[in-house]
């Protein structure tokens, strides 16, 4: 029973959704979108489990004073402050602190007067931008380590990377001495565009075709119950 019901649900829903792609008539026509919405609803309720797990793990770390428990404390403090400020809509009206800004709970959560919006603007945004900016450093260290001309393919990769690095900046135009600087022509930026337009595009397309076939095969295995590990169900021998 524990094994059969989830497999039966997977099979029925999978087949129905595939068939509904070809049948515009209601109720099949909008089934795909409806199921997306059902998934979003389930995922939203499931957040309670995730949030609960987060609280449990960090509270346990603090309680047992494991290494790094200070970070867990910061995590929980941040969690509760953001939750309380957001849920209660703390804000300022004429210098007074109000709950349910602007008093009738109808204020736009993105309004600058609401403290939640300040947390977004002055804490979340800079942190997100900082993490993204780390990529600049990691690209440099990864390039330094990885772009070595060990063999023919690695050399081709190295040359292509140089063309793109130069072509994506003014330097590419400046070093293309064979083309006057103010004229269009077969300069390094143009070569960089060619690399993106032809070999890169062809490679991307080939990978995407393979991925699409992989998705078809995996989806089929899941629908037919051949792959059932994700259900936490033992495989059929």
């Amino acid at each position: 029973m524990k094994r059969t019901i989830p497999l039966a649900i997977t099979f029925i829903v999978g087949v129905v959704l595939i068939v509904s792609k070809f049948i515009p008539h209601m109720p099949f026509g909008t089934l795909g979108e409806d199921f997306s919405v059902y998934f979003d609803i389930i995922a939203t309720f499931a957040f309670i489990l995730g949030g609960g797990n987060l609280l449990k793990v960090h509270a346990d770390t603090i309680y047992r004073q494991r290494s790094g428990w200070g970070y867990s404390a910061i995590c929980l403090i941040g969690f509760f402050i953001t939750m309380v400020i957001g849920l209660l809509k703390f804000g300022a009206v004429n210098g007074r602190i109000v709950v349910g800004w602007p008093g009738d709970w109808k204020g736009d959560i993105a309004d600058p007067a609401i403290w939640f919006s300040s947390i977004y603007e002055y804490v979340f945004k800079p942190l997100a931008a900082t993490m993204f900016a780390l990529l600049a450093f990691y690209v440099a260290s990864a390039s330094y380590r990885a772009f070595r001309a060990k063999n023919v393919e690695a050399t081709v990769l190295l040359v292509a990377s140089f063309i793109i690095l130069l072509g994506r900046t003014f330097i590419g135009k400046a070093v293309s001495f064979w083309v006057p600087i103010n004229r269009p022509g077969p300069d390094i930026p143009r070569l960089a565009e060619w690399v993106m337009d032809y070999p890169t595009r062809a490679g991307q397309r080939a990978i995407m075709i393979g991925i699409a076939l992989g998705i078809v095969a995996t989806s089929l295995k899941i629908i037919l119950g051949i792959d059932r590990t994700y259900l936490g169900v033992e495989e059929e021998k």
């Binding site: 997100a128 993204f132 600049a136 440099a140 001309a149 900046t169 993106m196 890169t200």
Partner: protein
């Protein structure tokens, strides 16, 4: 000499990080700028918008978040400016939750600041964010009001003259999508532009651009990939409309100086790494 060579051979990654930090900070602090030479792709996008008549209906979707704001905001601002200068009717929305904030920021920086004659509801409107990704596009393909009964100010859509003229994606003359991932340009092409027969122009991060080039030119009129393309567009805009020619008004162009220097530093490290690799290989061959 040998010690120096060993240090270079086993270069600590933190040295690389330090040089990159300096390569980005110094050009930004000292406003190092380089001339921009727009590519045919950027010119194509610019010319298409330039050719459109006054009053054209343009939908701009802000599908990015603060993480990609430094890369995508310059092109978003440039497009808002261009559309406002050309007196288009601008319909603003977002498929990412934080895209709505990005949109508000762009409206504040462009329309409210430079175009005081632009009237909300008559010349532009912001209908905000709705969850559902491609599901949203599927619905607004035929009717905005089915999913957006009100705008961000909680007023019914039907009260705006803009929605009396056009009530669906099919009524738009152009879609402009600035996207950093999913849902984004791919979804707009597949579920919006193609079924509606409405042309689309896109802006994406440089990393995403190779995946989107296959759609050009049949399914997408043009694509601005990354900060360089944004800087090229700003240059074209500044050349045509002198009020935007000052580099200080164009964040893309301001940041390109740092990008150029950073690229040179990365190339220098790659060359150093290859030199040490070849020297070691030659030494190993001698011993062997």
């Amino acid at each position: 000499m040998g010690k120096i060579y060993d240090k270079i051979r086993n270069l600590d990654r933190r040295v690389v990080f330090l040089f990159i930090a300096l390569a980005v900070i110094i050009p930004l602090l000292y406003a190092v700028r380089f001339p921009e030479f727009p590519t045919p792709m950027a010119k194509g996008v610019f010319d298409h918008i330039e050719r459109m008549p006054e009053g054209s209906r343009v939908l701009i979707s802000f599908d990015y978040d603060p993480a990609s704001e430094p890369e995508l905001e310059p092109m978003a601002i440039a497009w808002m400016r261009h559309c406002s200068i050309k007196k288009f009717k601008i319909y603003i929305m977002a498929l990412w939750p934080l895209g709505q904030n990005m949109a508000q920021g762009a409206i504040k920086r462009v329309i409210l600041k430079d175009f005081p004659n632009y009237k909300y509801g008559i010349d532009y409107v912001n209908i905000g964010y709705k969850s559902g990704g491609q599901g949203v596009i599927n619905v607004i393909l035929t009717d905005f009001e089915k999913l957006y009964p009100v705008d961000v100010t909680n007023r019914p859509l039907k009260s705006f003259p803009l929605f009396k003229e056009a009530n669906s994606l099919k009524s738009m003359d152009l879609i402009i999508n600035i996207s950093a991932g999913t849902p984004g340009l791919k979804e707009w092409i597949q579920f919006g532009s193609d079924p509606a027969g409405t042309p689309i122009i896109g802006g994406s991060t440089a990393v995403q651009a190779p995946q989107l080039y296959p759609y050009h030119p049949k399914q997408i009129l043009g694509l601005l990939g990354g900060l360089k393309a944004a800087a090229e567009y700003e240059k074209l805009l500044g050349d045509k409309y002198p009020q935007y020619s000052d580099v200080k008004l164009n964040k893309g162009r301001m940041r390109m100086g740092a990008q150029a220097i950073a690229h040179i530093v990365i190339m220098a490290f790659i060359i150093i790494g290859n030199l040490t690799f070849f020297i070691d290989r030659a030494r190993g061959a001698k011993k062997g």
